[in-house]
C-alpha cells in the first residue's frame, strides 16, 4: 500500500510540468473594507479575477489611470499594504455540475453545507451535452462565467408555458410564465419569501430546477428555509446560493450573478429553471457600499449611476430560449423590500420597470388576515393569460371581473345602506372570492384543485355558503372531488381543459357535496338559533 502511494506520488511529480510565463503583478496601495486599490496590472480587463498573495481572490472593478480598484472576495483582514496581486487573465467564473443540486453554496459556488465537495458529473450522468464532447470534458466541472451578456432577441421565444406556483391568487389572476420576470414587492414581514418558498415547494414533479439566492439574509432564516425545503422534498431539485449578512458586501454583490450562472448551466441542458433573488434591495445596498468605497460618484439615494444596469443586466438573463438555440428557460422572481409601502423609491421603481409585472404585498391586508397579502389592484402580470392553461384562463376572466366589481362596490357600499339585490349579490360573491383566495403558507395547491374550487366560486355554487364556512367547504370539497370528479381532474391534468362530460360530472359533484355540507354543517346551527 505504502509502495503504491510512493509510486503514485512519483508518477504525479514526474508528470508535473511548470510552464514559466510572464505574469502581470500589482501591489496593494490602499485597503478599505473589502476593497483594495492596486498599482500595476496594466493590461487587466474589467471583471477579471485577481489573486492576492495569501490566495484570496478578487475582481477588478475600477480601471483607473494609475491604479485598479479591486473587490476582495473573502477574508480581507490578512491582506496588507504592499502585498502582491497577480492577474489571472480570466473573467470571474464558477464551477458547476449536476451534483450542485440539493446543495447550499456561497457566492463563489463553493459548498458551505458541510456535505463535502461538489463532484464533477459522472460520465454516465446525462448532462444533455452533445455526444461528440470528449469524456474528459464531461467529467470535469463546467466553468461558467458570472457575468455574461443576456441572450439576444433571435434566440428568444415568447412566454407561453405557465409556472404553477400553487398559490390560487397568483395562478388565477397574476399568472407567471416560464421565462418571465415577476417581481415580488412589499414591506418587511408581508410574506414575500413565503410566496417564493411555496412556489419552489410546488415545483415537485413539474420538471423545474430551482435556484434560491439569499442576499444579506440572516443565517438563521436561511437555515429555516433549507430545513423547510428539505422537509418538503424540494432540495432534490433546488440549489441555494447564500451571501449572508455577516459576509462582505462584495459577496452579496456577486451572489445573484452566481445564481443566474448556475441557472444558465441547467438551461443549457434544455431544462426550465426558476430563480429567486431574495432580495435585490439588499443587493443594491451592497453595490452602493462597494461603489462608495471605490469612490464612484453617488447619485439619487447615494446609489451609483449604474444601479439600473446592475439589475437590468441580471434580470435580462431570464428568458425562454427557442428550440433552435437549445430551448430551456429561466424564470426570475426577484424580491424587493419597500419601506412603509413606498413603491416609488429608487430601487423599487427601477426593478418594477425592468420586470414583466409585480406581485404587490401589503401590510394592511396581512394583518386583516388576507394571506397571501396580495393587493390584486396593484399587482399585474404583463405576460397575462398567455401563461395560463386554457381551463384557468376561462375561469380567471370571470374571477377578475368579480373582484374588480367587488373592490368598487365595497368602497361605495360604506356610504349607503340601501343597496339593490344585484349589488348585494356582487358584494357577497366578492367576499367569498376573497375568502377562497386566502391560502395557508407551505400549502401549495395542485392546478386541477385550483380549477375545481374557482369553478365552484365563479359559477355561483358557493353563494349560499356562509363566508366563515368557505375554507372548510373548500378543503372538504377538494377531498370529495378526488373520487367524485375524476373525469374533470383527469382532463385538466392531461388536456388542460374540461369537456362537457367532465363539467357535468363536476357540477353534479358540487351539488351533491353542497347539499350534504349544508345539511351537516349549516342546518344544525340554523335550527339551534
Amino acid at each position: 500500500m505504502s509502495n503504491h502511494i510512493v509510486e503514485s506520488l512519483k508518477r504525479e511529480i514526474e508528470n508535473f510540468k511548470t510552464q514559466i510565463k510572464i505574469e502581470k503583478i500589482g501591489k496593494v496601495l490602499e485597503l478599505f473594507d473589502g476593497i483594495a486599490k492596486v498599482s500595476g496590472l496594466s493590461d487587466i480587463k474589467s471583471s477579471e479575477m485577481v489573486i492576492f498573495q495569501n490566495g484570496v481572490m478578487g475582481v477588478a472593478l475600477n480601471l483607473e489611470e494609475d491604479a485598479v480598484g479591486v473587490i476582495i472576495l473573502g477574508d480581507f483582514s490578512k491582506i496588507k499594504e504592499g502585498d502582491e496581486v497577480s492577474s489571472t487573465g480570466r473573467i470571474l467564473e464558477i464551477s458547476v455540475s449536476d451534483n450542485i443540486l440539493g446543495r447550499v453554496v456561497n457566492a463563489l459556488g463553493a459548498p458551505i453545507d458541510g456535505k463535502g465537495l461538489i463532484r464533477a458529473n459522472n460520465p454516465s450522468q446525462n448532462s444533455g451535452r452533445s455526444d461528440s464532447e470528449s469524456l474528459q470534458t464531461r467529467t470535469r466541472p463546467t466553468a461558467y462565467p458570472i457575468e455574461k451578456v443576456a441572450p439576444g432577441v433571435i434566440t428568444r421565444l415568447s412566454v407561453s408555458e405557465p409556472v404553477a406556483t400553487g398559490i390560487k391568487v397568483i395562478d388565477a389572476i397574476i399568472p407567471i410564465g416560464r421565462g418571465q420576470r415577476e417581481l415580488i414587492i412589499g414591506d418587511r414581514q408581508t410574506g414575500k419569501t413565503a410566496i417564493a418558498i411555496d412556489t419552489i415547494l410546488n415545483q415537485k414533479g413539474q420538471n423545474m430546477i430551482c435556484v434560491y439566492v439569499s442576499i444579506g439574509q440572516k443565517d438563521s432564516k436561511l437555515r429555516k428555509i433549507e430545513a423547510r425545503l428539505e422537509a418538503g422534498g424540494a432540495m432534490k431539485y433546488t440549489v441555494i446560493v447564500s451571501a449572508g449578512a455577516s459576509e462582505a458586501a462584495s459577496l452579496s454583490y456577486i451572489a445573484p450573478y452566481t445564481g443566474v450562472s448556475i441557472a444558465e448551466y441547467f438551461m443549457d441542458q434544455r431544462k426550465d429553471v426558476l430563480i429567486i433573488y431574495d432580495d435585490l434591495s439588499k443587493h443594491a445596498v451592497a453595490y452602493r457600499e462597494i461603489s462608495l468605497l471605490l469612490r464612484r460618484p453617488p447619485g439619487r439615494e447615494a446609489y451609483p449611476g449604474d444601479v439600473f444596469y446592475l439589475h437590468s443586466r441580471l434580470l435580462e438573463r431570464a428568458c425562454k430560449r427557442n428550440e433552435k438555440y437549445g430551448g430551456g428557460s429561466i424564470t426570475a422572481l426577484p424580491i424587493i423590500e419597500t419601506q412603509a409601502g413606498d413603491i416609488s423609491a429608487y430601487i423599487p421603481t427601477n426593478v418594477i420597470s425592468i420586470t414583466d409585472g409585480q406581485i404587490f404585498l401589503e401590510t394592511d391586508l396581512f394583518y386583516k388576515g388576507i394571506r397571501p397579502a396580495i393587493n390584486i389592484g396593484s399587482s399585474v402580470s404583463r405576460v397575462g393569460s398567455s401563461a395560463q392553461i386554457k381551463a384557468m384562463k376561462k375561469i380567471a376572466g370571470t374571477l377578475k371581473l368579480d373582484l374588480a366589481q367587488f373592490r368598487e362596490l365595497e368602497a361605495f357600499s360604506q356610504f349607503g345602506s340601501d343597496l339593490d339585490e344585484a349589488t348585494k349579490r356582487q358584494l357577497e360573491r366578492g367576499k367569498r372570492a376573497v375568502e377562497v383566495l386566502k391560502q395557508f403558507q407551505y400549502a401549495p395547491m395542485k392546478m386541477e384543485h385550483q380549477v375545481i374550487v374557482l369553478y365552484a366560486l365563479v359559477k355561483g355554487f358557493m353563494d349560499d355558503i356562509p363566508v366563515e364556512k368557505i375554507k372548510e367547504f373548500e378543503s372538504e370539497f377538494i377531498d370529495y372531488s378526488e373520487n367524485n370528479a375524476k373525469v374533470f381532474c383527469k382532463e385538466i391534468i392531461e388536456k388542460k381543459m374540461w369537456s362537457d362530460k367532465g363539467e357535468e360530472q363536476l357540477k353534479k359533484a358540487i351539488e351533491d357535496f353542497k347539499n350534504s355540507f349544508l345539511i351537516e354543517k349549516i342546518a344544525p346551527k340554523a335550527l339551534s338559533r
Binding site: 504525479e12 508535473f16 511548470t18 510572464i22 502581470k24 494609475d66
Partner: protein
Amino acid sequence: MKISSQNIAEAVYRATEGRSSQDLAVTLKRSAQVLKDKHMLGKSGEVLNALQNIFDKKTNTVRIKITTAKSLGLGERNRLENRIKEKYKAQIVVGEFFEKKELLGGMRVEIGDEVLDDTYKNKLHKLEKFLIQGK
C-alpha cells in the same frame, strides 16, 4: 477637477524640458511649492515615480529588478541586461540585483508590472498546488 500625481509629473516634465540649469532650479523649486500649495506633499513619492516613468519612456529606459538565491557574477548580469535590451528593444537597461536565500534557486525578474518567476520556491509552490488540487 482632481489633480493626480500623474498630472503633476507631466506638468513638471514639460516645465523642465529644455531648461538651463539655472532655470531648472527655479522651476523645481516652484514645482515643490505647487505640491505644498495643493496639499500633495504626501504624494511626492508617487509624483517622483510618475516623473521617473516619463523620463524612462522618453529615454527608452527599462528598469529591471532581479532577485536570485545566490548573487550573480558580473558576466551573468551583463548577459541578462543585454537579453532584456534585445527583448524590450530598449536603449538603456537599469538593473537592480537582490539576493534572497529563501528562493532556493532560479531567478525572479521584474520589469514594471511584468514578472517572470523561475525560482525553485515558486516551482515548489506550484507543485504543492498541483498535488492538492489536481490542477
